[in-house]
């Protein structure tokens, strides 16, 4: 049962999947940490980003990795615009209204995709889609390895933005004390929109790393939503280090769950972690105690 030759590849595979999960969760935790809203459109936004990567490749022949700046910028713009035009106006100071608004946005996005792209599942072909490298006894797909490295780089950039730039300081100030930040001359609406934009930009990056080894259809986001929330809660809502480590952990749990429980039951491990954490340690691994 604890055969290293089976366990090691499984753990490694989980880590590479987990890195992409972390990327998705980083965006979500930023949005939650600053705006204190649960973004139910996160999965649908990821789906849009995946379609963008797909069509850039199929129509214009742009390699997913080269498409990264385009998709990241596009998703940032979408997030900024959505926050300013819809979500900000829907709030009226009540969380449930924002929750409904993001839910409505998700419904619109998913069904627009259904309308324009049909329900077909699509994937792309690249020279490296199926290539693998050997690490010890494990054969790891090259796209997954790239995704792992990419996720680390993007999280690094995010840490740098949050820790070292004026924007990052403004975001942290708004997250902590909105009224105080306003008094210091920070444009709170702008910071909110920037946070939402950066949150979706992370999804753009995640999509570029995911698609070479994954697929896209209008419903693809749904599977990621609860996983991303699990990671965010596990790491402590609003914690970036937590999201990164939580993402890797969840990837490994899913991979091992699949190994020992079978494909369909494997995901149960994720939800079991989720429920356990929420009940017994709601502040997460790295969150401050509420």
């Amino acid at each position: 049962m604890f055969d290293f030759g089976i366990l090691f590849p499984s753990v490694l595979n989980g880590l590479t999947t987990g890195a992409v999960y972390a990327l998705i969760a980083l965006g979500l935790t930023l949005i939650y940490g600053v705006l204190h809203i649960i973004n139910f459109a996160h999965g649908a936004s990821l789906m849009l980003a995946l379609y963008a990567v797909y069509f850039l490749k199929e129509r214009l022949g742009i390699d997913p990795y080269l498409a990264l700046p385009i998709v990241v910028l596009g998703m940032f713009a979408l997030g900024y615009a959505l926050q300013r035009s819809v979500i900000n106006r829907a709030g009226h100071g009540k969380d449930e209204n924002i929750l409904l608004a993001t839910l409505g946005i998700a419904i619109v996005m998913e069904n627009l995709a259904l309308l324009f792209f049909k329900s077909d599942t699509r994937n792309i072909d690249t020279a490296y889609s199926l290539s693998t490298v050997a690490i010890g006894p494990a054969m790891i797909a090259v796209p997954k390895l790239v995704a792992f490295a990419g996720a680390l780089v993007v999280s690094g950039i995010l840490f740098w933005i949050m820790g070292r730039t004026d924007l990052g300081r403004a975001i942290r100030a708004v997250a902590k004390e909105k009224e105080g930040a306003k008094l210091m001359g920070i444009d709170v609406d702008h910071v909110y929109a920037m946070s939402f934009g950066i949150g979706l930009a992370c999804l753009g990056a995640a999509a570029c790393f995911l698609l070479p080894a994954y697929y896209v259809n209008p419903q693809v986001g749904g599977g990621f939503v609860l996983v991303a929330f699990t990671i965010v809660v596990l790491g402590g809502m609003g914690s970036f280090v937590g999201a990164l480590i939580g993402g890797l952990l969840v990837g490994v749990v899913e991979s091992l769950g699949g190994l020992y429980l079978g494909e369909s039951l494997g995901q149960i491990g994720i939800f079991a972690i989720f429920i356990g954490v929420v009940l017994f340690r709601p502040q997460g691994m790295f969150g401050a105690k509420a």
């Binding site: 829907a90 619109v108 069904n111 609860l226 929420v278 009940l279």
Partner: protein, 327 residues
């Protein structure tokens, strides 16, 4: 007449008017529409008990719906139990699951987004379990054989189903009336508005919330059992998927939370909307849901208190014009 009695009279009038629909028309389309709108009202009102009056935002009410549906189907298929007898079992099963999830969540003081997410996670766990075990039919689902007769809770005409679900809705409305006017409802709303203050005056928030989730889940279970009787089929995706959870909370919030008629309004408005758009653009997949989602966002932006809130605003305007009279 006091406000409470006026509401009771309103419920009676509603029951009689809607109950007469099958006597006035034999149109299958009309009867089907009314039946489905009532069904949507039932799940919205069930959600409203916990979400609207209790302030606990469940995102996984499918958990109770699916449990009711599966108990109803399994009791008939595996147990050979009559559908009418299975119905209270389904309601009880759903209520038990509600009490279990509620006991866990409220024991640890979960609220707000955490409660929403944990209910969603429980629904997912049940969905995966229902897909993986045998007695739910796994991925194939369960088919209840068609034996149309009143004794089997299966009707040749939509009229029979309409009356059954109408009875359930009227019961839910009566419970909501009781929440608005009775002592338990006052406690529940006190806990919603300020838990610490409620505790300070001797209310036990844990027990109050637990009772509310049990009640809410029981009505969801009834809706699940009703679904099985109408469509004779259930699978894990229908039972525990997010669609039912979303439908319940959207109708309740769009209509107006914590009100008697809000969920009814919300369910009817949303059903009219999706029927209308489906008739207009039937051939194009997804467009009716695009419009549904857009209208949802527009309502949230412009009617933050729901459709019932619009009625309230109009009445306030009216009262102001009448020289500030209040009733």
């Amino acid at each position: 007449m006091s406000a409470g009695n006026r509401q009771l009279a309103g419920i009676a009038l509603f029951a009689v008017l809607v109950g007469c629909v099958p006597l006035v028309t034999k149109s299958g389309v009309t009867l089907n529409f009314v039946m489905m709108a009532l069904y949507a009202t039932l799940i919205a009102q069930a959600w409203n008990i916990l979400g609207g009056f209790g302030g606990q935002f469940s995102f996984g009410h499918a958990l109770f719906f699916g449990t009711g549906a599966y108990v109803q189907a399994i009791a008939q298929l595996q147990g050979g139990i009559n559908a009418w007898v299975a119905l209270p079992l389904a309601v009880a099963g759903a209520a038990l699951v509600g009490l279990f999830v509620g006991a866990l969540s409220f024991r640890y003081g979960l609220k707000g987004s955490y409660f929403a997410l944990v209910t969603l996670a429980f629904a997912e766990v049940f969905r995966i379990l229902a897909l993986s075990v045998n007695f739910t039919g796994g991925g194939v689902g369960l088919m209840v054989p068609l034996r149309e007769s009143v004794a089997n809770l299966q009707f040749a005409s939509r009229a029979g189903y309409l009356w059954v679900v109408l009875a359930m809705v009227v019961l839910a409305l009566l419970v909501t009336w009781w929440l608005r006017n009775g002592r338990f409802g006052a406690y529940l709303q006190a806990v919603r508005d300020n838990e610490d203050a409620a505790r300070a005056v001797g209310v036990n928030p844990f027990r109050i919330k637990l009772a509310a989730i049990g009640l809410s889940a029981a009505f969801m279970g009834a809706a699940g059992a009703f679904y099985v009787q109408v469509f004779q089929y259930i699978d894990a995706g229908i039972a525990y998927g997010p669609a039912v959870s979303v439908e319940a909370l959207v109708a309740a919030i769009v209509g107006g939370m914590g009100t008697l008629w809000g969920p009814v309004l919300g369910a009817v408005v949303l059903h009219l909307l999706s029927d209308l758009t489906r008739n207009l653009f039937g051939e194009l997949p997804g467009i009716n849901m695009v419009i549904y989602g857009t209208v949802l966002v527009v309502i949230v932006i412009f009617l933050p208190r729901g459709v019932a809130g619009l009625g309230l605003s109009v009445r306030q305007l009216w009262n102001a014009k009448q020289g500030g009279r209040h009733d």
